[in-house]
């Protein structure tokens, strides 16, 4: 019997990999093993529209395609370890699966606050559907909500909680929300707009402990001040899910290092012929920018990397793999849309519109555009996308 393609991780990347393998003509067996009990679903609405409305699997589930009807989905099952020399993975139920090809799509999990009094209930992260279901119940009008972290997820959740009538305080170590990658000028404006909606910011501050006996009742800041709250949302970044790969010849410094074909790389620089990594967990160089391998946590990356793997696997890959990063964010009536890697910029400037209304910023490294980001003005932002195509 042919050994299957085993995809570890049943989120968007795992689903897209299975679909792309079929689309590019692979008709053999595929097994997808995923820790969550839910079939693949779309995560971004979990901090935005869906969190503001009713959270359910139905509201976010990806449609199942006929082409993947014969895929073997093993859900609610983590993978404990892998043996790449012998081509096996062992799941959390103790079962060992042999693969012909392995696709690593285990993504990220949220970092959690590590303080002494961390055993309290009422602490939330926003990554999974179950996280969002749990959080939604607590976001009642008048509830005092503290959001730790002022990145995209933190700001989106703050906006959603505010929309639901909560009293919201954002606490973060940086100077302004999403300074990286948006740049100070746009970050300040973003903060102004949040404040105009009634969100309070306590910046350049970190948390040293929690207050409460069973449930969290407040946070203690490094200034000694206490902010009391009913709900604590931790949006302080993420860890890569690569522990199960330890002990193999891989570079797991920050995710799984891959070559331009998304093949996992050994210590000697050679690639594993039958081991790929995709999505948030993959660290790869993008020739659009430079030779520096990076993980890119943008929504389009799982789909783009899955397609590349399917093309490589079926012998149909052409040219270099150079996906154009794109992301968006909705906060109140602000629609933020961006292309490129904004964080690489050494210069950021307003290139269209007005800062306090709809506007577009350009991001440049040594004079060359590496990113574009707009609040509104989508057609203008989209017009710059071609700047990032491989010449």
């Amino acid at each position: 019997m042919t050994k299957p393609v085993i995809i570890v991780g049943a989120s968007m990347g795992g689903l897209r990999a299975a679909e792309a393998l079929r689309r590019f003509g692979y008709a053999g067996p595929i097994t997808v093993i995923g820790e969550e009990r839910h079939a693949p679903y779309n995560r971004p609405p979990l901090s935005k529209e869906v969190l503001a409305a009713e959270v359910s699997h139905e509201a976010v589930a990806f449609p199942q395609r006929e082409s993947t009807a014969d895929v073997n989905w093993v859900l609610g099952t983590g993978v404990e370890r892998a043996d790449l020399e012998h081509g096996t993975v062992t799941d959390s139920k103790g079962e060992t699966h042999a693969y012909g090809t392995l696709i690593i799509a285990t993504g990220l999990r949220p970092k959690r606050l590590e303080v002494q009094n961390s055993e309290l209930t009422g602490r939330h992260a926003v990554r999974t559907l179950d996280d969002a279901i749990g959080l939604r119940k607590e976001l009642k009008p008048g509830a005092r909500v503290v959001v730790l972290g002022a990145g995209f997820i933190g700001c989106e959740v703050a906006a959603t909680a505010r929309k639901l009538g909560c009293e919201v305080t954002v606490v973060a170590p940086g100077s302004h929300p999403i300074t990286r990658p948006l740049g100070v000028e746009l970050a300040k404006e973003l903060q102004r707009r949040h404040e105009a909606m009634g969100v309070r910011f306590v910046m350049k501050t970190s948390v040293t402990d929690l207050v409460g006996t069973t449930a969290v009742e407040g946070i203690v800041l490094d200034t000694g001040d206490i902010i009391f709250c009913d709900v604590l949302i931790e949006a302080i970044g993420s860890h890569t899910n690569t522990e199960w790969l330890e002990g193999n010849d891989l570079d797991l410094t920050n995710g799984v290092l891959t070559d331009n074909d998304m093949r996992a790389v050994k210590a000697n620089g050679e690639a594993w012929p039958n081991v790929f990594a995709i999505g948030d967990v993959a660290r790869f160089a993008n020739p659009l920018f430079d030779a520096e391998p990076r993980r890119v946590e943008h929504w389009n990356i799982p789909t783009d990397t899955a397609k590349r793997v399917a093309q490589v696997f079926t012998g149909q890959a052409e040219g270099q793999f150079a996906p154009i990063p794109s992301f968006w964010s909705d906060q109140y009536d602000m629609h933020i849309l961006a292309y490129g890697l904004l964080a690489l910029a050494d210069e950021v400037k307003l290139i269209a519109g007005e800062l306090q209304g709809e506007c577009v910023f350009g991001y440049y490294r040594e004079g060359k555009m590496v990113g574009v980001c707009g609040i509104g003005m989508r057609t203008t932002v989209m017009g710059y996308r071609k700047e990032f195509e491989l010449k």
């Binding site: 449609p63 789909t303 794109s326 629609h335 989508r378 989209m382």
Partner: protein, 64 residues
């Protein structure tokens, strides 16, 4: 044969990602709002499926 396309306009946030994948079917108008052709030729299937994949709101459907 033709493909019938439906976009759930209550979900659509006009991000325009579909425009890059299937420019003959989807476009943004002068007000940055999505417009689309509800029927497309079968030859557009791969592009439309790509547009479905890249829609951040997962608002595009093929009507069977």
């Amino acid at each position: 044969m033709t493909i019938k396309i439906d976009v759930d306009m209550t979900k659509c946030q006009h991000y325009g990602q579909c425009v890059f994948e299937a420019p003959d079917v989807f476009r943004l108008n002068a007000d940055d709002k999505l417009e689309y052709t509800a029927e497309a030729d079968d030859s557009e299937l791969a592009n439309i499926e790509a547009a479905i994949d890249v829609c951040p709101m997962q608002a595009i459907f093929i009507v069977k």
